[in-house]
């Protein structure tokens, strides 16, 4: 089963001191290599800080945009991992090792993968 792990923290890389960011990047290298080797890895990436974000809406073909993420919270979405795990508890075990979990938090969301979604999104004929 697939799970999306969303990493949220008060400080993203850009807001850390250079030394802290370097150390944090090294932790991510180590973690990512480990889950690549174990076969749990499906994808991941880091996001630029919310100051770079735009929120888009389309209402009757009229495009409206606002600055920043659509929810204002203290914790910012900083990156994600898409993983393959046996079940929710294995996903939790892996998510707990994401370096960001030590500073902020990680939201673990099961990927739907139901029949209707798979067909609608073209993963299944």
């Amino acid at each position: 089963m697939k799970y999306l792990c969303l990493i949220c923290a008060e400080k993203v890389m850009e807001q850390m001191t250079e030394a802290d960011a370097t150390a944090h990047f090294a932790e991510y290298t180590e973690f990512t290599n480990a889950i690549r080797a174990s076969g749990h890895y499906l994808g991941c990436n880091r996001l630029l800080p919310p100051s770079e974000a735009i929120t888009v809406r389309n209402r009757q073909d009229k495009v409206m945009t606002t600055d920043g993420p659509f929810v204002e919270t203290k914790e910012q979405l900083g990156g994600y991992y898409l993983i393959e795990a046996r079940d929710l508890n294995e996903a939790i075990r892996i998510a707990a090792r994401i370096p960001g979990a030590k500073h902020g938090c990680v939201e673990v969301r099961p990927v739907a993968e139901d029949e209707q979604t798979l067909i609608a999104l073209g993963f299944k004929p």
Partner: protein, 433 residues
């Protein structure tokens, strides 16, 4: 509950395939087969070597991943299980060392990681490891719902989502139960061992209780639209067999017998519509004769040991029913005397209620009714729908329609399960005006 998990890993990991597609598929199936049959036992041994359930889970995964990579290239090892344990152990130690660069090393790490394990890779120790795991998962320091969840996941190998859906609770709730239980095991330093003989009886009681809870959830579901979830009962029977093999004890045999004898009636308990059929109305040709024979033999074995307890006695009662050609041709005197022994070692109003029903069958409805009224007057079982439905039934047999109606209506107010409610509604409709 077949796992396609390994094939997912196989596909995800982009392993170079030195063999033909066909051979690789066979290898995939072979390893899948080993995963299904042996992974829980390999896991149990890894918990022993690594001292931590989470590290062992990761090590188990890594060991199977290594098998998927190496076996197609190097061939299947002579002893796959020993290979998996040994590989998993190295991977686990490696992971602990790697992580200890960030966290402080646990102080007892050296004793947790025995240097020479060659004697323990195979042989008799293996089964003990599974028993240790069962005792850990059913440790009395854990809440009952956590014991059930942990046992199903760690011992039976069910996925969190499967357990959650069987118990009709949200997966995140169940997942957190498991996380908290594991934290508790770690923090309270719950030992990973079979209890000493002085504690064994009490601790075994808690294991048997967990197994019976799992069985009952599959047999008398406590909520939901359908009455039963057979796969849970099957897991419980499987666990019962496993524990009996590892720890031949009269009460383990008794519990297994009880579950088998109840299971033997499953096809006759409900109609295709999902409606409930009472024991006395069941089509006994639908009862599974082979399971009855197995259960009855276990009952005899348990009773002959003279070490029997409540499970063996309940199984004995079940066996009398199972071997009777009809409700009226049942040896009710034998059932009443078994209930008397059961009550003497385990006083309980529910058992008293069952005994009252048996006495009604042995003597007459009024005799049973007097006993049930006495139980209800004590203020016990007043919220138990089966007490009121038993009372209603005896009134009905005596032709006391008004009293029967009132009691059925009380039962209906208390019953939760749809099939039970439909049954009671049916009984109410059938009463003469």
């Amino acid at each position: 509950m077949k796992s396609l998990y390994l094939r997912d890993v196989f596909e995800q990991s982009n392993i170079p395939m030195p063999l033909s597609d066909n051979e690789c598929n066979n290898m995939g199936f072979f390893i899948d087969e080993i995963y299904r049959n042996q992974s829980r036992s390999v896991f149990a041994t890894l918990v022993k070597f690594l001292g931590d359930v989470d590290v062992a889970e990761e090590a188990l995964h890594d060991a199977f991943k290594a098998a998927l990579e190496q076996w197609p290239r190097d061939g299947i090892p002579a002893n796959p299980r020993a290979w998996l344990v040994s590989t998993g152990r190295f991977k686990g130690i490696d992971a602990i060392r790697r992580r200890s660069r960030f966290d402080a090393l646990p102080d007892d790490i050296e004793e947790r990681l025995p240097v020479d394990i060659s004697d323990e890779l195979d042989g008799e120790g293996i089964e003990d490891d599974r028993l240790r795991l069962i005792f850990t998962c059913c440790h009395p320091a854990l809440a009952a719902d956590a014991q059930v969840a942990l046992t199903l996941r760690e011992v039976c190998g069910l996925k969190t989502e499967e357990i959650a859906s069987a118990f009709l609770i949200p997966a995140p709730t169940l997942a957190q139960r498991i996380v908290r239980a594991k934290t508790k095991i770690k923090e309270a330093r719950i030992p990973y061992e079979v209890p000493s003989p002085s504690q064994l009886a009490e601790r075994l009681g808690s294991v048997l209780h967990v197994i019976y809870l799992i069985f009952n959830e599959g047999y008398f579901a406590t909520s939901g639209a359908t009455l039963t979830r057979p796969e849970l009962s099957q897991e419980a029977i499987h666990l019962g067999r496993l524990v009996l093999k590892l720890l031949p004890d009269a009460e383990v045999a008794g519990l297994l017998a009880l579950m088998l004898l109840q299971e033997s009636r499953r096809p006759a308990r409900t109609l295709l519509s999902g409606d409930l059929v009472l024991l006395e109305d069941q089509d006994r040709t639908l009862w599974d004769k082979d399971i009855i024979a197995e259960g009855s033999a276990l009952v005899e074995q348990a009773l002959a040991s003279r070490q029997f307890g409540t499970y063996s006695l309940q199984a004995a009662i079940s066996a009398v029913h199972a071997n009777a050609p009809s409700a009226s041709a049942t040896d009710w005197a034998e059932i009443v005397s078994l209930y008397n022994i059961l009550l003497s070692i385990n006083p309980s109003p529910v058992i008293e209620l069952n005994r009252a029903v048996a006495i009604a069958m042995r003597d007459n409805p009024q005799a049973g009714l007097t006993l049930i009224d006495a139980i209800l007057e004590r203020g016990e079982l007043t919220d138990y729908h089966l007490a009121h439905s038993a009372k209603a039934d005896l009134h009905r047999r005596l032709g006391k329609t008004e009293e029967a109606k009132t009691a059925y209506e009380t039962a209906l107010k208390l019953a939760v399960l749809e099939p039970e409610r439909r049954f009671l509604e049916g009984r109410l409709r059938e009463l003469p005006d």
